[in-house]
Structure formats: C-alpha cells, structure tokens
C-alpha cells in the first residue's frame, strides 16, 4: 500500500514550505532515510527523508511550489502501484491533519529501537558538551557519527569532526555521494549552506562554472596567420607614436551631400567619407613626402615614394585585408569611388589579386561606422605611417567665444619614429586637418 509523503512541519510557526528541488524523480527507488526532496521554510532548508522504502510513485508539486504543511506532496510504494492523480485531501481539515501524526510516531518508535544517532527528523543524540562545542565551532551535528553509547555524539566526536572538516569540506551526504560519482573535487566547490556547507545544487553550479564547454578551435592560418605575424612584427619592431587631432567635418559633410547625386550618376555608387579622406590624404602626402615613405629592407635607407599608393583596411569574414589603391594622387573622386568600391568588393569576395595588395605607401583604417572615437592603429609595414579614423559625432566646440555643435571626427596618426620625427608628422596631420575642414582646396 502506497504511503503518503507529507510536507513536514519543521517549526512551530511553519505554515507552508517551498519545494526547492526533488532529489528523487517519479519511478526512482527510494530507501528509508534517503532524501526525497528539499524544502525551504521561512528559516531553513532541509532535505526531507523517506520514512518508507519503495519507489517514488508521484510528485504532486513542482519546484518552487509553496505547499501547506501536512499536505501530501507525493507517494512512495510498490512499483506501478496506483495512486491518485491529484493530491488527496490537501485541504486543511482536521482529519488529514491528524493522519500523518500517528504514522510519524510509529516510525520514530521503530527508529529508536534500532538505536541510531538520528532519533527522528531534526533530533540528534548528542551530549550537552558535544552540542556546546559544535555550536562554538559552527559544526553541524547531523553530519557527525557518534562514538558514544547508542551512537551518541560526544565532545571528542565533534573535535575530531572539526579537525577532519578542515581537511575535507562540509557537504550534505547527497552532495558527497554525487561528487564521488562525478569524480568532482569538493575542495573546489563553494558551498552556499551554513558554514560553507556544500549542497547538491552548489555542485552542479560549480560544474557549470568551472567545467566550461569545449571551445571552438580555429587554426591560425591564411589571413589570420598573416595578420598575426605582421602585427606582431610591426608592434615589436616599430617605435610607434600616435598623434591625435579632432577635425571639424562640417564642410566635408556639406561637400559630400552636394556631390553625392553627381557621383551616383557617374559611378552608380555612393560617395563615402572614406573616399574624400583618401583624396585629402593623397593630397597631403604629396606635400609631405617623408610621411609617404618607408624604410628599406636593410634599414639603411629611407625611401620617399613618388606615388601615393593608399592601403585601405577592409574587414572581411576571414579577417583584415588591406587592398592598395595605386596612384591615388592623380585620381579624382569619381575614380576613387569606383576603385575603392571595387577593391572592397573584391576583398570581401576574396578575389583580390596579389598586385592589388602590394606597393602600399600609406594606409587608412576607418572605424567611423562603429561607436569608436579614436584608436592607435598599428603601422602596416614597411610603410612609415597609418591614419586611424573614428566616428563623426556632434560635439560642442568653442567658436568665436561661444560654444557651437559641430560634427567632429578624431583622426589618429601612428608613425614610425625611425623614419620620421614628431614635428613633420604633426605638420602632416595639421595639413590634413586643414584640407578636411576646407575641402574645396582639394579641387585646386
């Protein structure tokens, strides 16, 4: 005959308990004294143990359900025994209340004759001295085995337990068993119980925490390998200095909107800020050849390039590629738009030819489409400098004694101090700033 499992009354004031977890599932075999579920009252969490041996036949409530005390929460009985689909008599009438009491008392009587430390739920056979020491040490008597008569816990047992506990962490019997099965080390688990006692839930949490899922592995090869090697080499070998300048983009914005329709008409593509910046950079580089330079492979000479071959940092699925737009100083906006659009498309489609990636004399890296104000780009060797472009945003600036809002962009110039010094680099950046702020000069 199936026996009810009741929500226990764990304190005189407890009216209901919350089911924290079901330790057994329907159909699981249950031994007498094994924890079946964990309940939280207003003050404590406790594992409710089975008074019967058999199989857990029914769970009427789910985790987090609040169940009144003495309500039937499940049944233990023979395998495949019939039990009601709904919890019987879960109203608080006097009959259902009276029923569980004799059952519990019978079990208690049986237990006491078998003389165990645990006299009944929550009552432990321990001497007053043992209790005092346990309290002082913050140790839980229910974790201990007594060496006294009727397995009574004595002072010495507590002392020994505390000593051992310093070696082995405190854990519920279930958590200990679980850890053993899972080959988990309790020393690495942080317990959430009193005094750091480890519950089963801590164990599973710890597993999720510490045993992270196997990472995806990507071989470092192809573009990734090239980027890794070149960036490492550049960052290690080149003494980088980065200069910043905030540029007022008002006129540039205006010019771009004026030219936009014409450009679309002629090229079928939109004029982007990058292309105007390329134009400005090419123009400035012509006037500042020591920036449009590179160190010879033997490091014995500085090469001042006659052509401005602009590298354009393009993000692709495979990684960073820098196609080169040759002879930029001779090209108008229409050509720049056509070529750079083509290069970018080729890059994304992995159709760049080797010559399209060689011969660069200066690189522009534009992250302005992201929420990036400024950054320190790493030089694309053997070039002498690289220009980083941040986002354009409305910024209050001082103008003739008043504060006005302007679309501002931060330009950063990283240069190779072996090739060029700070002052000429600053002069270049200043020239570039002037060209960008007064872009009509580009037409000259």
């Amino acid at each position: 005959m199936a026996k009810e499992i009741f929500m226990p009354k764990l304190s005189s004031t407890m009216e209901s308990g919350t089911i924290l977890q079901w330790i057994k599932n329907e159909g699981d075999p249950v031994d007498m004294g094994e924890p079946v579920f964990e309940v939280m009252s207003d003050k404590i969490n406790i594992e409710v143990e089975a008074y019967e041996e058999g199989f857990l036949l029914k769970k009427y409530y789910n985790v987090d359900d609040v169940v009144p005390v003495n309500t039937v929460v499940g049944y233990i009985g023979e395998k495949d025994e019939e039990v009601p689909d709904t919890p019987p008599g879960n109203t608080e009438n006097s009959e259902s209340k009276a029923e569980p009491e004799p059952d519990q008392n019978e079990t208690v009587a049986d237990d006491s004759s078998s003389s165990v430390t645990q006299i009944e739920q929550g009552q432990i056979r321990a001497t007053p001295a043992a209790r005092r020491v346990a309290k002082e040490e913050g140790a839980d008597l229910s974790d201990m085995t007594g060496s006294g008569p009727k397995q009574r816990i004595q002072q010495q047992d507590v002392h020994e337990f505390v000593q051992n506990a310093q070696k082995t962490p405190k854990a519920t019997p279930l958590a200990r068993k679980w850890a053993e099965e899972q080959n988990a080390d309790l020393n690495t688990v942080e317990g959430s119980g009193p005094g750091g006692k480890i519950y089963t839930k801590d164990l599973s949490a710890a597993q999720n925490d510490t045993v992270s899922a196997e990472p995806d592995r990507i071989p470092v090869k192809g573009i990734r390998k090239v980027v890794a090697d070149r960036m490492t080499e550049s960052a290690a070998a080149v003494p980088h200095v980065t200069l910043y300048s905030d540029v007022d983009m008002t006129e540039l914005v205006r010019m771009r909107s004026r030219l936009q329709d014409k450009i679309i008409e002629q090229t079928g593509a939109k004029l982007s800020y990058t292309e105007i910046m390329m134009k400005a950079a090419a123009s400035a580089l012509e006037r500042h050849p020591y920036i449009n330079a590179s160190l010879s492979p033997d490091q014995q000479e500085i090469l001042l390039h006659r052509d401005v071959n602009l590298g354009l940092a393009v993000a692709t699925e495979q990684g960073l590629v820098v196609p080169v737009l040759h002879h930029a100083q001779h090209k108008g906006l229409v050509e720049l738009v056509k070529e750079s659009k083509q290069l970018a498309a080729d890059a994304r489609n992995q159709q760049l030819k080797p010559q399209q990636m060689q011969g660069g004399t200066f690189t522009i890296s534009n992250l302005g489409m992201y929420a990036v104000d400024g950054f320190t780009p790493i030089i694309n060797q053997p070039e002498a400098a690289i220009l980083g472009v941040g986002q354009m945003k409305e910024t209050p600036v001082g103008e003739n004694g008043s504060v006005v809002l302007r679309p501002m962009t931060t330009f950063s110039l990283s240069f190779d101090h072996r090739v060029v010094d700070g002052a000429p680099a600053a002069a270049f950046l200043t020239e570039l700033k002037q060209l960008l702020e007064d872009p009509y000069e580009l037409l000259m």
């Binding site: 007053p128 001295a129 043992a130 209790r131 005092r132 060496s147 006294g148 008569p149 004595q154 002072q155």
Partner: protein
C-alpha cells in the same frame, strides 16, 4: 603532624570546646563510664563530670526534645544517638521543633544544638542499625547536615557545628571511627559548613562522594590512574549547605561525573546533587549522563557478603567511571 583517629579527633574537639565554653554539654545513652556505643566520649565523664556528660534513658525523642529545650535557653547541647537509625524516633522533635523554632520565633530564639550519630553499614549490625538516612533530615529546611570523612574534617567540622546557632545533624560513620589522619592540629580549628574539599585532583571524571564513599572513591581513583584515567574526588563534607560551586567547576573541567553515597539510591541525596549539576552551567559541559551510585533498595542484610553487595564498593566505582568514559 601527629596522627590521631576519627574518634580521637571528635573527642578532642568536644573536650576542647567544653573546657572553653561552659554552655557546651553532652547528652546520650551510655556516654558516661561506658563511653558511648563506639567509645567516642570515653574518659570525658572523668574530666567533665556527670553534670556535663549526661547519661539519658533510652528515649531518642526525649533526649532530642530536652536538648532542643536547653538550646533555646542558651545552652549548646551535643546529643549522641547510638545509631543513626534511631533518628526516626527523634524525627518529630527534629523536623517539627528544632528545624522550625528559630523561624517561628522570628529569630528571637535559636536552637544551637548538635546531634551526633553514627550511620552506615559494614559492621554486620543488620537492618535496624546500619542505615544511612541523611536524606531524611537534609529534606527539612532548618537543619544542617554534616558528613565528615576524615579525622581532620571531623574535628574541624564538629567545631563549626557546635558554633553554629542552628541545629546540626552530624553524621559520623562506624567504619571511619578507627581511621586516622596524620594532619590533625592539636589546637582547635573550624572548617566552615558548606565548603567542599577536593580530596584528589583529576581531569577525566569527577566523583562526588560522601562519608565512607570518599575513601572508596580514592581507592578507585588510585586504580584507575594505573589505566591512565585521572579521577577528581570531591567530598562535599556537608550536604546542607552544599558547596555547589566546587562541584560545578569540577564537572566543567572533567565533563563527566559520578555521584556516590552509601544511602539507598532511590530518593537519596545523590539525586539532588545530580539535578543540581544538570541545572547548573555545567550542563553544557556534560559529555555523558550524570551517573549515580547508591545502595540497592533493600533492608541492609545481616549476611556480610550481602551487606557488601547492596552498597557501592570500590569495584563498583571503578566500573561506573569506566562506563561514563565509555571504557567499560
């Protein structure tokens, strides 16, 4: 220091008091030329005369009643009852008169008397002459109850009992009369009532023992020491008033306690001591249940083997200590 017996210590104390204090006198059956049932007053009638060492008829109620009356008038009588069993005959006088009068007179009258009487078994004196009834008188508020276990304690405690303005029941022990102490000063001295004596210091278990049991406890302690068990032996010396503090502190130290007396365990004073311990701060230091040893609830047998068997012996104490230490 000189060595004298328990009997000699008692006699010396009474003689010294009677020389100093003319209000002190003795009353009892055959205490004169015969010297009393156990010879305690032997020779005293020669020194102090029949006025102060008074032989009485065989009437414990009568002797006790006269002593109470004379004490109320300012005398300090010392009554001797031949056997403490006969205190039952004097019980009305003790319980309803001696114990009550100071209270009922609002302190205007005192009963500064001492009733000396030998208790205990071990002499083959059988059922009517071998009992230990100290719990009877200890139950009565207004009576003090003293149980010296050594010659030294006997002399000092008897002096305190004589000086005390209240009736004091002074239990001697038949088996202790011939025991001696080598530390008894010749000059009078007083041991305050209600001051226990630690007869042996130990750390593992406390034995609280009274009267003759103190000696058996010391013997047990000696043997248990060979097993590495350190027994502390406490002799309360007076059970009313009781030195609770010394007992409590000892139990706090040792965590285990055996209470032993010769009287029948049921209703015996050991129950009072055990309860006192569990009610005290020592409770949280108990690492085993308080153990009581006392006589079996039977009349004291005449057969010497059975007489021994009914009362706690040294072996019983050893066993009790082992049990409380789980080393049985």
């Amino acid at each position: 220091m000189r060595e004298i017996t328990y009997v000699e210590a008692l006699r010396e104390c009474m003689s010294q008091e009677m020389r100093e204090n003319e209000n002190v006198f003795l009353m009892g059956e055959d205490i004169g030329v015969y010297g009393g049932a156990f010879g305690v007053t032997r020779g005293m009638i020669e020194e102090f005369g029949p006025e102060r060492v008074r032989n009485t008829p065989i009437s414990e109620a009568g002797i006790t009643g006269s002593a109470i009356g004379s004490a109320l008038t300012g005398m300090q009588p010392i009554v001797e009852l031949q056997f403490s069993d006969f205190i039952t005959i004097a019980m009305d006088q003790l319980a309803n008169q001696a114990a009550k009068l100071r209270y009922m007179y609002g302190g205007k009258g005192n009963v500064p008397m001492v009733l000396r009487t030998p208790a205990g078994s071990g002499t083959g004196a059988a059922a009517q002459h071998s009992q230990s009834l100290e719990a009877w008188v200890a139950h009565i508020p207004g009576l003090k109850v003293v149980q010296p276990s050594t010659a030294y304690d006997a002399k000092g405690l008897l002096k305190a009992a004589i000086d005390d303005p209240n009736p004091v029941i002074f239990y001697e022990h038949k088996l202790l009369y011939k025991t001696s102490s080598d530390d008894v000063p010749e000059d009078p001295y007083s041991i305050p009532l209600g001051q226990a004596d630690i007869k042996r210091e130990g750390t593992d278990v406390t034995i609280v023992a009274t009267s003759v049991m103190v000696h058996r406890a010391l013997e047990a302690a000696e043997k248990l020491a060979e097993e590495g068990i350190n027994v502390e032996v406490i002799d309360p010396r007076s059970i009313v008033p009781l030195d609770e503090e010394t007992i409590v502190q000892s139990v706090i130290k040792t965590n285990r306690v055996v209470v032993v007396h010769e009287a029948v365990k049921r209703g015996g004073y050991g129950g009072e001591i055990a309860s006192m311990i569990t009610e005290s701060e020592a409770f949280d230091f108990l690492d085993a249940p308080v153990k009581r040893l006392g006589a079996s609830p039977v009349p004291v047998p005449y057969n010497p083997e059975l007489e021994k068997a009914m009362t706690p012996q040294t072996e019983d104490l050893i066993q009790a200590c082992r049990e409380t230490l789980q080393r049985a």
